[in-house]
Subunit: 214 residues, 3 copies
């Protein structure tokens, strides 16, 4: 068990906070839920990716349940979003930014923790991406939306990039704060460029862009 | 492993039965499924919360799979609902009552089992609530509905109350049949009052009640 | 740990390939996703059932993550569907066939692996059925559809039949390639007959067939 890895913990808590804000603001904006619904959705979005990761790598009970700091940070982010969400202008922009931040940080921590637990490099990359997209996917399923990871504008790809950078830098012994932050920033930048310009990965041959989507 | 704890087992089986009736009656009423769909939904609703609990506390394979009584009770409840659902008047009222009963019983057993497995008190409270709301959330996701735990009328709060009473009475050494039943009854009563009077937890500041919901 | 069981592995990889084609073709046809969405849905459909199985029987990390062949086969099937899906005529027919093939193969491997891990026969049958229907259920939840296992035309029943044949032949010592293939073919045949003739399991007493469904 890797009980203490301060860099992993710090990035993980930052990602938890970002996803808590994202999930709770989404609940405020999209679904007009009450405080319990808002905090519940914020906490599921914040903790879902890490719980899926910990179940898959057999790190049970999940860090969330053995370390109160995750619960506290997720609850704090959700309550802040509940209290201040109505004053925030450009709410949809903030929702996208917090989502991209959580995605980036969790892709790094997921890949790093998977390597710590002895998984191979390809598995660690996939697991990093799953950690990044997991919380948002639960959020979208609960709100009856097709998950962002399927609709994209570059969502899974930046997560895979960040996880790959993480795995490579760990393998080559140059991992540390700069590498971890660099990997997260790369993911965040790709994601935000994708959102800004409405970029999508290639469509199947024979489909044109002006076909109706659903 | 806590292989035998008769009080826990009895409450768990009662909750399983209540949720099996609830899930299968919901399938009869809402979705007009055939017998396999009805029994499947009844069993997922009945067993889902406990399976999520057992995965998270690393009690694997889940009790459901190591103890045939859970499967038998879940199947029996589902088949009873299949056979008699069409004769039951006030079906929607019964559905709500069985859901509240399952929620209450599973919140108690989830918190109790989490403490048994060595989790801290705050974690045990959260895990009790997850156990209570888990099966119904799977049911709603499969039927394409926003889960009750997000829409509420007091759903997560009574589960947290029951789990908190359970954890406190265990910690102070006064847990037993009266405390367990009392915790479940408190949850059930709060939930039913919430349903009866359409109560919801507070909305975010700046939202008024007459805004359109979705 | 049963690290090597060539028959189990071959059937599991064949089922993974069939479900990858099914999930990715469904994404091409129903949701008009881009390449990342298509491959993601293909891989979730292909790997979801086995991951759920491995979580429930505590075989963690799941075979998917400890054995690269699953990832490779799932990715290959998804990319083939991406590249050739637009040329395939009768796409909806192929989607149903690949789904039935994956269902049949995974019901056999799920039941076999559960027995290997020491579960009882009834639990192994249920787990085989869960393995068979798991990936398709995740696919349907992510695409906002009521899962096939609830809507049916005989979907859970053939999976239970294949799992039961598997468990019985293993218990009576006559399991091997003929028994495994026979169990899968039986499941496949029942499923395809159900689809062809629009068969459903019995409805609850008092419901008539001409009632509106949803």
């Amino acid at each position: 068990m890797t009980t203490e890895n301060p860099l992993l913990l710090a990035l993980d808590l930052a990602g938890t906070f970002a996803f808590a804000l994202n999930g709770a603001l989404t609940a405020v904006r999209v679904a007009r839920l009450d405080i319990v619904g808002i905090v519940t959705l914020g906490m599921i979005t914040a903790l879902g990716g890490g719980i899926i990761r910990d179940v898959l790598i057999d790190y049970l009970p999940p860090a969330t349940f053995s370390d109160w700091r995750y619960l506290a940070v997720a609850a704090a982010g959700s309550l802040i979003a509940f209290g201040f969400g109505h004053r925030m202008h450009r709410l949809s922009g903030l929702i996208v930014v917090f989502d991209a931040a959580g995605l980036s940080l969790f892709a790094v921590t997921g890949a790093s923790k998977a390597l710590d637990m002895g998984l191979g490099p390809a598995q660690a990359v996939i697991l990093g991406a799953i950690t990044g997209v997991g919380g948002g996917t639960l959020r979208d399923v609960l709100l009856q939306r097709i998950p962002t990871v399927l609709r994209s504008e570059l969502y899974a790809i930046p997560a895979l990039v960040a996880a790959t950078i993480t795995v490579l830098t760990i393998r080559f012994g140059v991992y540390g704060i700069p590498a971890a932050v660099g990997a997260a920033v790369a993911c965040f930048a790709i994601r935000m460029v994708g959102v800004r310009y409405g970029l999508n990965a290639p469509r199947p041959p024979g489909q044109t862009d002006d076909e109706p989507e659903r």
